[in-house]
Amino acid sequence: MENSLNLSDDTLSKIDEVVPKYPEKRSAALMVIHLVQDELGAIDDVACEWIAGRLELQPINIKELITFYPMLREKPWGRKHVRVCRTLPCALRGSYGTCKTFEEKLGVKEGHVSEDGEYSIEFMECLADCGQGPVVIVDEKTYENIDGKSAEKFADLLIDGKLDESEDFLSYEDSLTQETKN
């Protein structure tokens, strides 16, 4: 099928790999949408049509998913996307303050993308790490215990591009590989 989205070979081969895993093609919709969105940042009408064609569906069958699921997007988030958990356990440990600090530091309101497209913040529902709240996810990494105070330092490191090297903020994912190197 025509590659009207100019998807990379890697994404195309991953799509070809995932679709036959399901007894019915339509079941692969979410997985294919994720793969396309990971590359393009969002699923616009052209992408909807392409995915629908790939799965032998109507574009509305894809559109109705994009407009329902919170993580699926019609417009991309910023290049650095910060998710802050809003739900009760994190709120009880100060996540409203965390979100406010990020809004001030990154210069963008939650739910929005900064004018230069660099940052976006999402004040979202439970991220299932409630014991170590407030929980923050930057792109795909989860950071724990980011209260209003540490959020300032955290945001500074993020802006300077030094979050990954920082010893003060080790992500849940990285702490896992540290533990399990052997």
Binding site: K21, Y22, P23, E24, R26, S27, A28, A29, L30, M31, I33, H34, L55, L57, N61, E64, L65, F68, Y69, P70, M71, L72, R83, R86, T87, L88, P89, A91, L92, R93, G94, Y96, G97, M124, E125, C126, L127, A128, D129, C130, G131, Q132, G133, I137, E140, K141, Y172, E173, L176, E179, T180, K181, N182
Partner: protein, 452 residues
């Protein structure tokens, strides 16, 4: 405390925090991994099911339905293929146990799943994992490919005639996908609008209208241990009708929040909060506890609970005396749900706490049933208005009336999940709601903890 607090008994989380343990198959095999799969394959599938039934293990996802019984309900006469789905959509606020299992010990889940798949004769198995677990999905993919290479999963498992592929399926951030029929719709590539039961009991009309078993991550891990110990032995852990261990996830205002695995019924809520979790912050006192994820009814610190248990014994408990198992929180008028215990101290504005929970349910309602779609939205609006200086004395009763019109009038249990917090918060803390209208300052104290 008159009785000393028991020690954790880690069965599911045995290796979770061992720095020498990894999520790779080599490590799992060194610790005796997949031996129970071999043991299960030496039995007849129905014998495996019998062991699980004997174990009395109840579902760890929230409803607490006996897993062995669920399997018994499978429609085997239809001749349609059978599917197994692991519900790894962990999204009930306050719950973070399945994350620990999947990130730290994924092969335990895969072994439990392949034993289950063999027992129910599944043609294919899926793990429906929430999409925020990016790395979790990658860890499971890696683990599945390792298991396939070693012959524990996929084609001709352990050189037998039985084959079962295991597929990772990622959700996309919707809480309703944790509801098993919503999950099935989602897995079919549709909007996750739950299906009505009857007739759509998954064991009869599930994925692609075929018989389907949906079990929680922790439940499926338990299957592995049931085969290791035998159903009879497993049933001796915990208490009758409350067998095995449970992982309690404690969050909120305690000194040491986290996940703790104990034998069912071996400790009380008070022991968990004040001994295991190190109690509250200095100078604080307990105000309220939500014992089973945010949809469970809130318990008030000075409440008393009395009545007669199923076995006939009479009880008269304070909040701290509630035994932590399935039946204890239930007897206290709430539920143990998914094991997520949210602790609130006296600095919490109870109306704000409820408003926070209401905002969650309003955001997550799938919108299929009118009472839930409209009701959850109005409960959010009313409670938010109350917290921004516009509270009226009659709001408490108004909230109760909206909640009452949701409960029991929806296709799935989300309606109850959305209504119970409001019903319990308003009824048990009515004076806080009235005070909000009469005494509360119109402006928030900037130093106070903001929850909405």
């Amino acid at each position: 405390m008159s009785v000393s607090t028991p020690k954790e008994r880690r069965i599911i989380l045995k290796h979770a925090d061992d720095p020498k343990y990894s999520n790779r198959i080599g490590c799992y095999l060194r610790e005796g991994g997949y031996e129970n799969l071999k043991k299960a394959f030496s039995m007849k599938p129905e014998e495996v099911g019998e062991e699980v039934l004997k174990s009395g293990v109840r579902g760890r996802g929230g409803a607490g339905f006996p897993a062995g019984m669920k399997w018994k309900f499978l429609d085997r006469k239809s001749g349609k293929p059978i599917y197994l789905i692991c519900n790894a959509d962990e999204s009930e606020p306050g719950t973070f146990k399945d994350r620990q299992i999947m990130y730290k010990d994924p092969h335990q889940l895969i072994e439990g799943m392949m034993i289950t798949a063999f027992a129910i004769g599944a043609k294919q198995a899926f793990i429906y994992i929430r999409a925020e677990f990016h790395e979790g999905a990658r860890i499971l993919e890696q683990a599945i490919s390792e298991a396939k290479k070693a012959g524990f999963c996929g084609n001709k498992i352990l050189d037998s005639e039985y084959s079962c592929d295991l597929v990772i399926h990622r959700g996309a951030g919707a809480y309703i996908c944790g509801e098993e029929t919503g999950l099935i719709e989602s897995l079919e590539g549709k909007r996750p609008n739950p299906r009505i039961k009857p007739p759509f009991f998954p064991a009869v009309l599930g994925l692609y209208q075929c018989p389907t078993i949906v079990n929680n991550v922790e439940t499926l891990c338990n299957v592995r241990h049931i085969i290791e110990m035998g159903g009879e032995e497993f049933s001796k852990i915990g208490k009758p009708n409350n067998t095995g261990t449970r992982i309690w996830c404690v969050s909120g205002q305690v000194m040491k929040p986290g996940y703790y695995e104990f034998e069912c019924g071996s400790l009380t809520l008070g022991q968990l909060i004040f001994d295991v979790c190190g109690g509250l912050r200095p100078g604080r006192s307990l105000k309220a506890v939500i014992p089973g994820g945010s949809s469970a009814k809130v318990l008030r610190a000075d409440e008393r609970f009395s009545g007669t248990l199923k076995d006939g014994t009479e009880f008269d408990w304070g909040l701290e005396d509630i035994p932590l198992d399935f039946d204890g929180p239930m007897a206290a008028g709430s539920m143990s749900g998914s094991g997520g215990i949210i602790v609130m101290d006296d600095t919490v504005d109870i109306v704000e706490a409820m408003a926070n929970v209401n905002a969650f349910y309003a955001h997550e309602s799938c919108g299929q049933c009118t009472p839930c779609r409209e009701g959850s939205l109005w409960m959010r609006k009313i409670s938010q208005r109350m917290c921004s200086g516009g509270a009226r004395e009659e709001d408490a009763d108004l909230l109760l009336s909206v909640a009452k019109q949701i409960e029991g009038r929806t296709i799935c249990a989300f309606g109850e999940a959305a209504a119970w917090p409001t019903q319990s918060f308003v009824t048990k803390f009515k004076e806080d709601f009235i005070r909000k209208a009469t005494d509360a300052p119109k402006e928030r104290d900037p130093k106070s903890l903001q929850l909405i």
